[in-house]
Subunit: 226 residues, 2 copies
Amino acid sequence: MAEFMTHFDTKNQEQENHPQSSQGRRATISREDLITAALKLVGPHRSISTLSLREVAREAGIAPNSFYRHFKDMDELAIALIDQAGRSLRLIIGAARQRASIERSVIRTSVESFMEQLNTNEALLHILLREGTVGSLAFKRAVERELSFFEEELCADLIRLGQIKNAPLYEPALVAKGMTRLVFAMGATALDLPHERHAEIIEPTVIMLRMILTGAEKMAVDPSLQ
Amino acid sequence: MAEFMTHFDTKNQEQENHPQSSQGRRATISREDLITAALKLVGPHRSISTLSLREVAREAGIAPNSFYRHFKDMDELAIALIDQAGRSLRLIIGAARQRASIERSVIRTSVESFMEQLNTNEALLHILLREGTVGSLAFKRAVERELSFFEEELCADLIRLGQIKNAPLYEPALVAKGMTRLVFAMGATALDLPHERHAEIIEPTVIMLRMILTGAEKMAVDPSLQ
DNA sequence: TGTACATCAGTGAACGCGCGTTCACTGATGTAC
DNA sequence: TGTACATCAGTGAACGCGCGTTCACTGATGTAC
């Protein structure tokens, strides 16, 4: 995930942060370096909200007070982390969905992509899967926002798929919500398992998602079930 | 919830904790008093893992070091809280299930009971809904254990229901797991809303649960969907 | 090109704070006789 | 019943620690002329 964050050079980043200023000393570390440092520290047993400013500064190799040159406080860094985590997750899953857009296999492919990313992007996904439940209000809203993006994209996919199959869904928005929450809940469970056991989660998750989809198809056809 | 915790008198509690000793000074505060104090402090924006020993002692009206007379450390208190939360939740939902055990309405009744408890037992439910995602390993295991109890009871209910209706379910254990995770996820969302808006969560949750149930019935009948 | 100057990222020292934990203690409660 | 004693829940003081935040500073970088 490091390359994801460091493909801006320092100069560009500075201009992005302070577009009006063209003078002054160049930064030797950037906001991205601090985000990277924070990501190194979070994990299965550390949530962002338990990180201290001094810890992050230490990891990044700067004095504690230098932190303030880049972020107002730890909350601001946390929000930046959530944004980045959400952005990268949507990229990943978006790619997976495009790869396999023929009916049912889209579920399996997406779930597999998701679980695969748990291995390689563990810290980044932790943030979305778990950190939304604790922390400040602004923090929670940021996570909720990423979840909504995810749901909306899925909902659009489901409607499109229903038209192709000529099998519309009952309440597609709720189908999307249920599927999203379920995948995230199962992903959170997986994060407590060793990497080699992540695969065990895929099959049950796929089956549960199919139950929702099958149920919504049936309910669209048979209104007495609603 | 206070009455739930204080129906043991101090004497009994002491004997329960130290059954071998029949001598010594009587405690003026009990483990339960500390648990009550901790419950007063947790809420939508405070997780147990962020409580300090000194805060709990202050709330309970004892000196910080007196805490050690009752618990080894804060982790031990946290585990006790989880046990209690799980026990009370299972009681509540168990009662709801017995009240309405005729087919579909069981879903609505259970969800309504669950959401209703969010109002009255907010702090207690917070623990199960949200605290399992952060904190120590022992902490997470305790939450996972309560979730499993919940799932197993639901699974037994679903199998029994399938026999009565003569409509068996595909993978009832996964149906139970999916329903449990979904209700908990929706409950966690509800906890961030003001009380008067909790009702809004009920309808979508009921629909999503019906999708799972309907899907599992259909998949049992039509194996090509599996 | 060279020089004087402005900018500002990063620093070292210091602050007051709440924390978990320890220690030796106190004194009310209950027991033994 | 009365007395001497044991128990142990609760205490006050103290400790060292890591924390967030502040301050005046330094000195490399870039600009103006």
